[in-house]
């Protein structure tokens, strides 16, 4: 029945796991004191092969393997390529920005790659327990990475905050899964989607869905589940933040798309207003808070919250147009965000000598390349045409308007105007002439190795491609959107569900 060997369905994950294990083994077998920078290249090469393997999966027929738990489709491949690309940029970045003498370089690269395994698996899982396991794999890796600067007080603080709050969120997700399982008797996503309208106990399904949404919205740092973001971004090393602010979010958004459109398509009328509120709240809270920040990483943390809001606006879109818009936005957001954190890690170095906006004054004069690239990414974050940020917002808001959420699109546009203020404050401070009175010798000469150069070039090129010739990526996003099994919008589930809820109210809930 299924001629494709199961192993092909998870080929990128297998390759990533093998390269992670290889990094660990080589790390252990190298004598102490040997430079371990080359381990990063092993990880980068493994990630590149995984990226190619995901592209190769395009030749496979769409379908699920391992008893219907993991799937390959245009949708999963889109996110695999995206995540592998982000991880590759983050690895290249770390190669030049991690301190030479660090004893933990081997672990670092292995953790990044293992995290990537979890994120990739997250996007292809079509069974809720596999979703949970994949989420744990990626989360545990990122918890450790967040606390990687052990010397400072901020590093462990970030890791502990991230870990505690993240565990809560995962618990929410797991509890939600349990409730949905209770109501439907299965954890397979397509089965659940089929059974949800038939389930006797709709209250339980709704409670399960709400809890799952809480868990996922925490991972994408949408308001009001965002409080961890600024502290973690501030405390974690910048190369890690480049990864942390993009890849896990991309994976979590993929899950959110699956949960919303595939798992609970019949409850669209309930989750859609919920996500509407979360989107509006995230944009507004993120931007208002970012306006007041003086610390660059905190500012960008709030900006990423706002971007999660813009992205959630796409969920107001109907069926596949909304999914395509969201997928495209994730790609655009990831390209520019990984890029901007890459620049910041190069500028500040591992010790983050320059955390404040004011520290960036005159950067364009001192280092024209880094200054220009930083300004370029800021311009893209503002959403100026001919950059990825513009089309991302464009598609997201058009999807929202198509879906009837005109008010949300207007809130979003007003917010982008607001956001321009703080992005430009940084951009213009960077462009300002250096202050003659202040001795600027403290500014460390940025190290621009070939690896960092390649990472920045990749991010810049992707942002430009998404802004100037987005056709290919958009087509891929649309192909992905069409492979999600979205419901027939004609069917009216509203009545069915409300009827069930009414009968629930008079009858004590029992498991089916």
């Amino acid at each position: 029945m299924n001629p494709v060997p199961d192993i092909y369905r998870i080929l990128p994950e297998v390759i990533l796991t093998l390269s992670g294990v290889a990094v660990m083994l080589i790390d252990a077998s190298l004598p102490a004191g040997t430079p371990r920078r080359s381990l990063g290249w092993v990880a980068a090469i493994g990630t590149t092969i995984a990226l190619w393997a995901s592209l190769w999966q395009l030749s496979l027929p769409q379908g699920a393997g391992f008893y219907g738990t993991v799937e390959t489709s245009a949708f999963t491949i889109f996110f695999h390529v995206l995540i592998c690309g982000i991880v590759l940029v983050a690895l290249l970045l770390s190669l030049d920005t991690l301190p030479e003498d660090s004893h933990h370089q081997g672990e670092y690269y292995a953790l990044v790659v293992f995290g990537a395994v979890g994120m990739c698996l997250l996007t292809s899982a079509v069974e809720l327990l596999v979703v949970f396991i994949a989420l744990e794999i990626s989360s545990i890796a990122t918890y450790i990475l967040a606390g990687y600067r052990k010397q400072t007080a901020r590093g462990p603080e970030a890791a502990i905050k991230y870990f505690l709050l993240g565990s809560f969120a995962t618990a929410f997700l797991l509890y939600g899964i349990a409730l949905v399982f209770g109501a439907t008797g299965t954890t397979q996503i397509y089965e659940i989607a089929r059974l949800v309208p038939l389930a006797q106990n709709q209250t339980m399904v709704l409670a399960g869905m709400a809890m799952m949404l809480v868990g996922i919205l925490f991972k994408v740092s949408a308001a009001p589940f965002h409080v961890w973001t600024p502290d973690v971004y501030e405390g974690a090393p910048s190369p890690v933040v480049a990864l942390l602010s993009t890849a896990p979010k991309a994976a979590a958004f993929a899950v959110l798309l699956r949960v919303a459109y595939e798992l609970f398509p019949t409850l669209h009328f309930i989750w859609s207003p919920l996500l509407w509120i979360v989107a509006a709240l995230s944009m507004t809270v993120g931007n208002l808070a970012a306006l007041r920040q003086q610390n660059v990483k905190r500012m960008l943390a709030y900006s990423s919250i706002a971007h999660a809001g813009y992205l959630l606006a796409a969920f107001a879109g109907l069926g596949s147009s909304g999914i395509a818009a969201a997928s495209f936005y994730i790609a655009a957001y990831s390209a520019m965000n990984v890029g901007i954190f890459a620049v910041i890690s190069v500028i500040g170095g591992y010790d983050e000598a320059m955390p404040m906006v004011e520290d960036f004054r005159g950067l364009l004069y001192r280092s024209p390349i880094l200054g220009s690239v930083l300004i370029f990414f800021l311009i893209s974050l503002v959403g100026i045409p001919f950059t990825g940020g513009f089309f991302g917002k464009f598609y997201s808001f058009s999807a929202a308007v198509d879906g009837g959420a005109v008010a949300l699109a207007i809130i979003g546009l007003l917010n982008s105007g607001l956001a321009a203020a703080y992005y430009l404050r940084l951009a213009f401070t960077t462009a300002q002439r250096p202050d003659g009175n202040k001795a600027q010798t403290a500014f460390p000469e940025p190290r621009m190795g070939a690896a960092v150069f390649a990472a920045l070039a990749m991010a810049v090129a992707t942002t430009l491609i998404l802004g100037i010739v987005p056709n290919e990526v958009l087509r891929a996003a649309e192909a992905g959107a069409h492979t999600l099994k979205t419901p027939n919008p004609q069917q009216d589930f509203h009545g069915i569900v409300m009827e069930r809820l009414r009968t629930d109210a008079v009858r004590p809930p029992i498991l089916p």
Partner: protein, 508 residues
């Protein structure tokens, strides 16, 4: 030849961009980036001159058109083309680019590569605004034109660059959000961003009038800020006093005024006529207000900023008078103002370069020391205040006379008062800077008169103002053709609604 005609506009867009890349790549040694930039803008200017040489007079519609699909979903086309309206604006942009490069030859000392690369990107963006016929493409260039400008203001600001840059950017960026919404709304209804298709659809009444009112207002708002029309001029004086000379001379005026003519009046003729009385009133207020404030400025950048508010308001008056002569005069005045303002900015840049202050009181009796600067400054001033046989006269006369006969005598008289005030503040500026006893600063600081580089640039501009004043018909014939096209004048064609009567609101 037809292949050149096919690709000329694309070349005009791409050459500055290619020059920008080249400037970034060459080493920053011995003015090499400056020479490359100069070469690029001269080549571009040469290319723009191809347009009038092969412009078919009397042929309706857009010429040198290219229309290729760019992005599939939404259907955005790379659709460019020019008509009599945009032809001379493209050339003006091409002409001012060498002026800008030469004006910053010595003034920009640090990070020349970034300056020149961004300056060239700015050129591409401005060309793009003038030639785009796809609303989304147009919007892209419109937004893009903000970026290099804002960054350069932040980089080279004289006192507080970032603040002025932020003010400039937010003032012009935020109104473009409603503009984008309006464009998207039009697209959602019609599935096209094409200017001509939309124009026909709107004229045919495909849209509810109430919604069109808001869409037209969104367009108008974005353009009015960019011009700027009173009371939206808040950003201009800071931008003028902070921006490098090469950019200040292009920041105001033509982009917004052209967009008004093309996209506000062009797409929404009915709504534009309804809005005309308000705009005429605002324009006349702007003429008087700008002139009065210019009278009391102590800083010459600020004086020029308010003078610009006054002059640009006069052009707005010409545009929204909805008379044929007024519109022609307005477009001619955009060109004239572009040339004269550039020369004036250049000369003030020369003064700032030599004496490092923009306080008018610090100057005095300069004519004896810098005679050729004084000569050219006086000449430019006379062109600016509208002395007959110089370029400023033609446009002002056409606008004022058409307003007097076709719109309202009262407004015309009031606007003419503003023109008189304009002569007052400009001549007073000349008197304070160049005549009278020599000030301490002038005596104490040695300075040389105009260099060869500066003369080679200013004399052609001065001659151009003279030619424009003596033989305006060279320009007016093509401009009139741009105006004759719908919807300013009665016309009819298949599928196009004929607009024969001016609504009552249009006359006062």
């Amino acid at each position: 030849m037809s292949t050149i005609n096919q690709s000329i506009l694309t070349l005009i867009l791409l050459v500055p961009l290619a020059g920008a890349v080249l400037v970034v790549l060459v080493p920053d040694r011995a003015k090499l980036p400056n020479w490359i930039a100069l070469l690029t803008v001269l080549v571009t200017f040469g290319l723009t001159l191809h347009l009038p040489a092969h412009f078919a007079l009397g042929q309706n519609g857009f010429q040198f058109e290219v229309n290729r699909p760019w992005i599939e979903n939404p259907a955005i086309f790379y659709h460019v083309g020019i008509d009599g309206l945009s032809l001379w604006l493209v050339i003006l942009t091409g002409l001012l680019a060498p002026v800008g490069v030469l004006a910053s030859w010595n003034a920009i000392k640090e990070r020349r590569k970034i300056f020149l690369a961004l300056f060239l990107v700015q050129q591409t963006a401005m060309f793009g605004v003038f030639i785009s016929l796809d609303l989304m493409l147009y919007y892209g260039f419109w937004e893009l034109s903000l970026v290099p400008m804002a960054i350069l203001i932040a980089m080279y600001g004289r006192k507080d660059g970032p603040k002025a840059a932020q003010k400039f950017f937010l003032f012009t960026f935020i109104p473009s959000a409603p503009l984008l919404v309006a464009i998207l709304w039009l697209y959602a209804r019609t599935n096209t961003f094409d200017f001509e298709t939309l124009k026909i659809l709107i004229a045919n009444g495909q849209f509810p009038a109430n919604a069109l009112f808001w869409a037209a207002l969104a367009f108008l708002f974005a353009f009015a800020v960019k011009v700027p029309v009173f009371p939206l001029h808040g950003w201009l004086s800071d931008t003028y006093s902070e921006a490098p000379v090469a950019l200040a001379m292009v920041v105001a005026g033509k982009l917004g005024l052209y967009s008004m003519l093309r996209f506000h009046i062009g797409l929404f003729p009915v709504q534009a006529r309804a809005a005309a009385p308000y705009l005429i009133a605002l324009a006349v207020i702007g003429v008087l207000y700008g002139a009065c404030l210019a009278l009391v400025q102590r800083d010459f950048w600020k004086l020029i900023a308010f003078a610009a508010v006054s002059h640009l308001s006069l052009i707005v008056l010409g545009i929204y008078g909805f008379t044929f002569i007024g519109s022609t005069g307005a477009i001619f005045q955009i060109l004239s103002h572009g040339v004269v303002d550039a020369a004036l900015f250049f000369l003030l840049g020369v003064l700032y370069d030599r004496y490092a202050t923009s306080q008018i009181a610090a100057y005095g009796g300069l004519a004896a020391k810098l005679p050729s600067t004084a000569t050219l400054f006086v000449l430019t001033t006379l062109a600016m205040i509208g002395l007959p046989i110089l370029s400023g006269f033609v446009g002002e006369f056409l606008i004022l006379s058409s307003t007097f006969s076709g719109v309202s005598r009262g407004w015309a008289v009031a606007a003419a008062l503003g023109v008189i005030l304009g002569a007052t503040y400009m001549l007073w500026l000349v008197q304070r800077v160049f005549y009278g006893p020599q000030s301490e600063l002038i005596q104490s600081r040695p300075a040389d008169d105009l260099h060869f580089r500066e003369l080679v640039l200013l004399w052609p501009l001065a001659v151009l103002t003279l030619v424009m004043g003596v033989a305006p018909s060279i320009w007016l014939s093509t401009i009139e053709q741009g105006i004759q096209r719908p919807p300013l004048i009665t016309q009819s064609g298949p599928g196009i609604v004929t607009i024969t009567s001016i609504p009552e609101g249009g006359r006062r």
